[in-house]
Amino acid sequence: MANERLRALEDVEKEIAMVLQCAGNIVLELSKDKQNANLLERQLVQFQSSVNRVENELGGQIRYLTQVATGQPHEGSTYSSRKDCQMALNRAEYAKVKLGELGRTCEVMLDQQQAS
């Protein structure tokens, strides 16, 4: 859920860039001697729709935040489960080290046997 809202805000950023780009394209087209009416129409429609989308989306986000914001800091954390997971990984690493030592010891014994 958090990612969706943040992703929506990133889309809004792209829309804002689109607004400026459309405005620039329209002015560029108007500066030419022969203007392409279709292109102007398309760019204008896109400009208006982008502006409306930006306004609606940002207004919606602000309304949502007005409802859910409490003013208090959030005190949840993932520390305990992260610590437990870290200890489990340490156990696995320790077992791996010990098995490695055991393997090396067996190899040394076999080499000695073969040498003798």
Binding site: M1, A2, R5, L6, L9, V12, E13, I16, A17, V19, L20, A23, I26, V27, L30, S31, F47, V51, V54, E55, L58, G59, Q61, I62, Y64, L65, T66, Q67, V68, A69, T70, G71, P73, H74, G76, S77, T78, S81, R82, D84, C85, M87, A88, L89, R91, A92, A95
Partner: protein, 202 residues
């Protein structure tokens, strides 16, 4: 729709400020763009000479274009502030993120422990066989206090059914005080003294 709760003054002021910035920036973009389009219209009658009028229109368009860009950048800053506010104050999504992360970490820990437990069981089986082989050979050197694992299991089985013959493959170094009165609970000690079990004497 839920009614607005009593937010702390700073948060409410902040959100109202966000609203104001949004409306002002959108209005700035639309107004300046409309004025640019109006200025682009060529008029036959002008109060000053065409060159002067053209220069004035050019400057005005520059300023309005700069205003549009400034409003766009202000909107970008607003989006960035909203993202920050969302991350810090959107409790439902923060709770979801925390519980998801906890769940992932816990499942990773369980999987790790499950694999370690199965590894331990496999090694215990191999160790049992190796001990049986070793202690039944001529190289064994165990005393009466610490029994090898295979011997401990054998004795446990013989105590469980007293009529069964307690056959031990080691004839020497046995405890001559008689069978212990307490049951031995053979536990696999994998750290350090692997495979040996201390007997509690009565």
């Amino acid at each position: 729709m839920a009614t607005q709760r009593a937010l702390p003054q700073s948060k409410e002021t902040l959100l109202q400020n966000y609203n104001k910035r949004l409306k002002d920036d959108i209005k700035s973009i639309l107004d300046n763009f409309t004025e640019i389009i109006k200025t682009a219209k060529i008029e036959d009658e002008t109060q000053v000479s065409r060159a002067t009028q053209a220069e004035q229109d050019h400057y005005e368009m520059h300023v309005r274009a700069a205003n549009i860009v400034r409003a766009g950048e202000s909107l970008m800053k607003l989006v960035s502030d909203l993202k920050q506010f969302l991350i810090l104050n959107d409790f439902p999504s923060v709770n979801d993120a925390i519980s998801l992360q906890n769940q992932q970490l816990r499942s990773l820990q369980e999987e790790c422990d499950k694999k370690l437990t199965s590894l331990r069981d496999e090694i215990a089986i191999d160790l049992y066989e190796l001990e049986e082989e070793y202690y039944s050979s001529s190289y064994n050197q165990w005393d009466s206090v610490d029994l090898p694992l295979c011997e401990a299991y054998r004795r446990r089985d013989s105590w469980a059914s007293p009529r069964s013959s307690c056959s031990s493959s080691q004839g020497d170094n046995e405890d001559t005080d008689g069978p212990p009165t307490q049951e031995v609970n053979p536990q696999i000690h994998l750290n350090g003294n692997a495979g040996t079990v201390p007997i509690e004497k009565s």
